[in-house]
């Protein structure tokens, strides 16, 4: 009896361990595949992107100093300076966040804490729908509607615009595009704040508003900033829609919101399908710069997040 039981148990144990090993391997494989894609993309972009600056480049190397510090991007005279484009990209994305971040955090608070249940369900659906709209549709909307707003706004301010194609149009467009990402993440984060914290705050005599701002938002900080990072990533990375309203200026940087601008992504996209040689390869170099900009800003946001947490607690 005892030995029989032992036998069954051993076979069962072996089978169980076998399955366990199999699934462990499967997880490793999944992790490996996703990691390999990131590595593949980075290696490919870096290899292609560094090419134009190496002496072995056909037609001669493009000076890397001129590329990194240049304030002109002129394909027609083969001048490729990326410095002003980096500044433009950061300005347009920050402008978008400036418009979008407060609205999305307040919307998330409204949906989770203030709105009646039925309304909050409708609002959640609306936010999700916004997230599902393809970027090219936003682009068409921007090229048809937002530019008109900007144009009439500029006319009121006494500026003449290039048909509304401008830095401001890019920022408004990006603000609308990053809004659903940031709001959804903020909703999740706010819902995850323990009830006890909120009730404790109310029990201590804090008003709902005080509780919402001082307790709920600070506790949900991590998730809200995760949304901010994702939103910023989208703002930096959006190419199609931005290209439709940026105007692609050849010099810069652009500080006047009614002037045309040029972002890293719109630079990579403009004429991509018809070009070749240096003008094609240097777009990969712009890709490296874009990845670097995103990395640096993400680190910056993490830094800011830690600071905010400390000063509030």
């Amino acid at each position: 009896m005892d030995s029989k039981h032992h036998l069954i148990s051993e076979a069962y144990q072996r089978r169980k361990k076998g399955w366990d090993k199999f699934f462990k391997g499967l997880f490793w494989l999944a992790g490996f595949i996703s990691a390999i894609f990131i590595i593949l993309i980075i290696v490919f972009i870096v290899r292609k992107g560094i090419g134009p600056f190496l002496p072995s480049y056909p037609g001669g190397a493009y000076p890397i100093g001129k590329f990194l510090t240049g304030f002109q991007w002129r394909q027609d005279s083969a001048i490729y300076g990326v410095a002003f484009i980096v500044i433009n990209t950061i300005i347009s994305a920050l402008g978008a966040l400036l418009i979008s971040f407060p609205i999305s955090v307040l919307t998330a608070l409204f949906i989770t804490k203030i709105a009646p249940r039925s309304l909050s369900r409708i609002m959640t659906t609306i936010v999700e729908l916004l997230a599902a709209i393809p970027s090219v549709v936003y682009g068409v909307f921007a090229a048809g509607v937002i530019v008109r707003w900007v144009d009439s706004l500029a006319a009121m301010a006494g500026f003449s615009t290039y048909g509304g194609n401008s830095l401001l149009a890019v920022s408004i467009l990006l603000a609308i595009m990053v809004f659903p990402t940031m709001t959804s993440l903020a909703i999740v984060a706010i819902n995850a704040v323990p009830r006890e914290l909120v009730e404790g705050s109310l029990a201590l005599g804090a008003t709902t508003t005080q509780t919402n701002f001082r307790v709920v938002l600070t506790s949900a900080k991590s998730g809200i900033f995760a949304g901010l990072i994702l939103g910023l990533g989208r703002a930096f990375g959006e190419a199609t829609a931005v290209s439709m309203v940026a105007g692609n200026s050849m010099i810069g940087p652009t500080f006047n919101p009614f002037n045309i601008t040029r972002t890293l992504t719109s630079t990579m996209l403009a004429g991509l399908k018809e070009t070749q040689g240096l003008d094609y390869d240097i777009r990969f170099s712009v890709g490296i710069i874009l990845m670097a900009v995103i990395l640096v800003t993400n680190l910056g946001i993490h830094f800011v997040k830690d600071r905010i947490g400390r000063s509030m607690s």
Binding site: D76, F110, S160, G163, T208, M250, D279
Partner: protein, 327 residues
Amino acid sequence: MKRKLSTLLVVLLVTALMLVACSTDTPAAEAPAETPDPVEEPAEGLSGEIHVYTRDATSGTREAFEGGIGFDKDEETLTASAVETSGNGDMASKVGNDVNGIGYVSLTTDFAANNLKPLNFEGVEPTIENVLSDDYSLKRPFSYVTRAAGDFESDEAEALTRAFIAFITESEEGLSAVDGAGGIVDLSSAKPWSEVAETVDGFDPATDYSGITLRTRGSTSVDKTLKAALEAFQAEVAFEFNMDHTGSGDGFKRVLGEEKDGANAGDIGFASRKFGDNETVSDGMLSGEYCQDAVVVVVESSNPLSEITQQQIHDIIVGQLTTWEEL
């Protein structure tokens, strides 16, 4: 109580926000009705900065435009304040939305739909008739030249080349394919391919040409119209084609010039210009032009301007002329 108060506050805030949103909406909604006012006022003489729109450096239309206005790419540079557009349609809609804009589009563009006004160039109206009669000068021909008679890989290849040239220059099918791809052709004298085919020397529709590959070389600008024509020709005759286009300079070179027996040799060479004096196209079996590519300078439709000279548009493009008053 407090909770109710704050709820009320939020509701008020949202309502206020909505009102603000509405009020910013209003000028936008009225914009189409309102904008014509400030636009039509300066109708006697538009003032302010000229907004130059251009295409990206790889565009064939840009090449045709800059060539046509005497802009020397190597000596001069485009004004740095120009807006770069991504295509003909993008250019059309952007200039159409900018009272101060000036740009250029291909002649086949729908001007009215894009709120554009085509400008007469050097006093000549941009119409298909004026392009075909050579009166309108902001244009370029798409020229072709074939290998010399007897210098083809086979008699069938020579006959097929002859047939294709007849197809693209004389037949209804060929001309309308080119027309559909944006080339400007004279459709009035076109005949059905079945009629044209009979007039081609050495070509017999009953022969099997499916093993023959027609090799086209030269200008990249002819790509679209030529491909359309080659595909339309495949519907009539079974054959293969190979397009390897690298620039107008190679059109003559790879058919009659120094590379005619090289690895990149072709049967028909193309140039998006007239062949030069040193390109002796008379050596070829056939040569000529199969269509025209015309570019039109456009402004927004309310712009009072209706004429422009080559000198004026050239000065605008290089940035010497920057305001409408100077025009």
